[in-house]
């Protein structure tokens, strides 16, 4: 295996993990199948577009991203999502509508055309004996660090324990004095923010337009199907298999086989192992 292929697979896994974690949190913990997840990625990707059009320094795209995505998520949670906790199918339909709404709003504000975002770290660097985009290397390291911290925090923190209690038995957790309503909206907003940040991080490497979110929803969904819901380990396994399989098949044959491979694998899992490989429950 060439070193570029290894790096490509690591890159695919990193970005897919960033996009999928939010979908996994919201579905695993709140039973909300968020079809508007890709649109949250899209809104995050527009953060650098916003700072550039307002003439703000590039550093401010991080707060701009957190504020815009946070506000959108909070409004969605208060008006629509909170009425649908624990109703996956209803939430699927409602959030599908939300995704169309968000696309149209962004189109109204920024137009239908493509936007471009310049990379904060252009050029390539030599890694494992090959030239690879420097920005991608930084992102790969950043994503793995983020996940390490997230896992450690979730295992040890009080909020982590409260979330587990809420997921296991919401009423009992509520009776024990855990503010489950606040905890749920926290979960949703956190999941949305990870999607937004993923979009912002991806922005210099992809196309940016109102329809882009669809690309990210589908593969994230496949990763959850394969990996199984409810644990970070399952999620990493899922994104590893989906991202790795597509890259490897794409490199060995061509991209059509890469896409066909993940479609077949996902169908196979939905059919024979609907709980995925690593199901905690």
């Amino acid at each position: 295996m060439s070193s570029v292929l290894i790096l490509n697979i690591l890159w695919q896994i990193s970005i897919l993990a960033m996009v999928t974690i939010g979908l996994g949190i919201v579905f695993g913990q709140l039973k909300i199948m968020n079809m508007a997840h890709g649109e949250l990625v899209m809104i995050g990707a527009y953060a650098p577009v916003i700072t550039a059009s307002l003439g703000l320094p590039a550093v401010l795209q991080v707060p701009v991203c957190i504020i815009t995505v946070g506000i959108v998520a909070l409004i969605l949670e208060r008006t629509i999502i909170r009425h649908l906790y624990g109703r996956p199918f209803d939430s699927l339909l409602a959030t599908w509508g939300v995704s169309i709404l968000l696309r149209e709003i962004v189109e109204l504000l920024f137009g239908r055309g493509y936007q471009s975002v310049s990379s904060p770290l252009p050029g390539t660097m030599s890694v494992l004996g090959t030239d690879y985009p420097a920005y991608r290397i930084v992102v790969i390291i950043g994503v793995f660090a983020f996940f390490a911290i997230l896992i450690a925090w979730y295992r040890r923190s009080a909020i982590g324990t409260e979330i587990k209690a809420m997921v296991e038995n919401c009423e009992l957790a509520h009776a024990c004095g855990i503010n489950t309503s606040r905890l749920s909206s926290l979960c949703f907003v956190f999941g949305a923010l990870t999607a937004g940040i993923a979009g912002m991080v991806l922005a210099p490497t992809i196309r940016i337009e109102p329809m882009m979110g669809l690309d990210y929803l589908i593969r994230s969904f496949f990763s959850l199907v394969v990996g199984g819901l409810g644990s970070v380990e399952g999620l990493m396994l899922g994104v590893g298999i989906i991202g790795g399989l597509q890259s490897a098949l794409g490199a060995a044959f061509d991209q059509t086989y890469g896409y066909l491979g993940i479609l077949l694998l996902s169908i196979f899992f939905l059919w024979l192992r609907p709980n995925g490989i690593y199901s905690s429950r």
Partner: protein, 382 residues
């Protein structure tokens, strides 16, 4: 009560006559534009360009002495629905001719509907080979965009090894069939050929193959968002230092999405660029800006093509003294018209036109060479 009724009847009669009056005052031309769907981005610039052409045609006395009025319909939909929309304009609103800026599937469906009974000008860049009674094509075909350009670029940029990459449908495949011949004729070599499904948004493995192939030129027939994503990643991997890129559908919107930092050595071949430096092209873009504002949708080859479509229609109709297909078909060959693209001449149902090669380096197109009066060499397949 009675007088009120009489007044009402009089008012209705007046209103009806006023309405029918407006219906018969002008010749209606149907303009089929993509307001929705994947080409929806090009709807507004197409409408605007058509509107400008109609204004000019009317100022010059209209068609056969009658003023023209444009009626728009959305054809950014599946062929069956697009046919319905065209039928409503034709039979319902009495449209006398059609201008179409849409994909080939819709064109084939419309040809089946019109059956040569109404003049139809097809305007976008396309794979070539369309012909039929009452059909006139203004858009660039692959032979026009590549026959002069590939040998020129190969000599100028010393690019002998080419990699061909496109989306998996007939336009890229037909384009590459011709490209291979032109590359071979100019003493070059094709080192790779690849077609991607529309669902792909990651290009890493393709870029790896391009790098390994040692390509010095990449011919891109990816469309829309796929082209943007590919070109961004291409430059991200530093491949712009290895190979030049040539696209046959990289227009102003696509280039804006690719961004200045990623457009180094990116060439585009087309019949129109907003940057064409001729008096006619400049006056076109300045009247576009004054009519629709400086924030108007950017001019591009697809949108602007509707202008050429109307100008060609008016020119043929002037020779034929009207919009009857049989009379138009008789005199159509050799019809000329003025356009921001330069002078267009109708030959075998297609327009021989200037082809411009533009360099996108720096994020703005600069026309580096223009090839005069390039005819189409595709045959007639339907």
């Amino acid at each position: 009560m009675k007088t009120r009724l009489i007044k009402l009847a009089a008012a209705v009669a007046l209103a009806t006559s006023a309405l029918t009056g407006s219906v018969y005052a002008d010749i209606k031309i149907g303009v089929l534009v993509p307001d929705s769907g994947p080409s929806g981005l090009f709807g507004p610039s197409t409408r605007n360009s058509a509107t400008l052409a109609a204004k000019e045609i009317n100022a010059a006395g209209g068609i056969n002495g009658e003023q023209i009025e444009l009626v728009f319909a959305d054809v950014g939909v599946p062929p069956a629905e697009a046919t319905q929309a065209a039928l409503r304009l034709w039979k319902g609103q009495g449209v006398k001719a059609f201008i179409g800026m849409h994909d080939s599937a819709v064109r084939q469906a419309l040809l089946g509907l019109f059956k040569g009974q109404v003049p139809y000008v097809y305007t976008p860049v396309y794979e070539g080979n369309a012909c039929g009674k009452g059909l006139y094509v203004t858009g660039e075909t692959p032979s026009q965009q590549l026959a002069p350009v590939i040998p020129y670029l190969m000599a100028e940029k010393d690019a002998k090894k080419w990699y061909l990459i496109g989306h998996d449908y007939n336009w890229p495949r037909d384009t590459n069939k011709l490209a291979k011949q032109y590359i071979a004729d100019a003493g070059g070599e094709v080192v790779g050929e690849e077609y991607l499904p529309f669902s792909v948004s990651e290009f890493d493995s393709s870029l790896q193959k391009i790098k390994a192939s040692g390509a010095e030129g990449v011919l891109i027939t990816l469309v829309g968002g796929g082209s943007v994503g590919f070109n961004v990643a291409f430059a991200g991997f530093g491949l712009d230092k290895q190979a030049i890129r040539l696209g046959t559908l990289i227009e102003e919107n696509t280039l804006a999405g690719i961004g200045a930092a990623n457009a180094n050595g990116l060439y585009s071949s087309s019949g129109y660029f907003a940057a064409i430096d001729s008096p006619v092209a400049k006056s076109f873009s300045s009247s576009y800006a004054s009519e629709f504002g400086t924030d108007a949708p950017v001019l591009n080859t697809l949108g602007q093509s509707a202008y050429d479509g109307l100008k060609l229609l008016a020119a043929i109709a002037a020779k034929a003294n009207g919009l009857a297909v049989s009379a138009m078909d008789m005199v159509a060959e050799g019809t000329t018209f003025e356009s921001p693209r330069g002078k267009g001449v109708l030959k075998d149902g297609h327009v021989a036109q200037n082809i411009y090669l533009a360099d996108g380096t720096g994020g703005m197109f600069k026309v580096v060479y223009s090839f005069a009066n390039v005819p189409t060499s595709e045959g007639c397949a339907n």
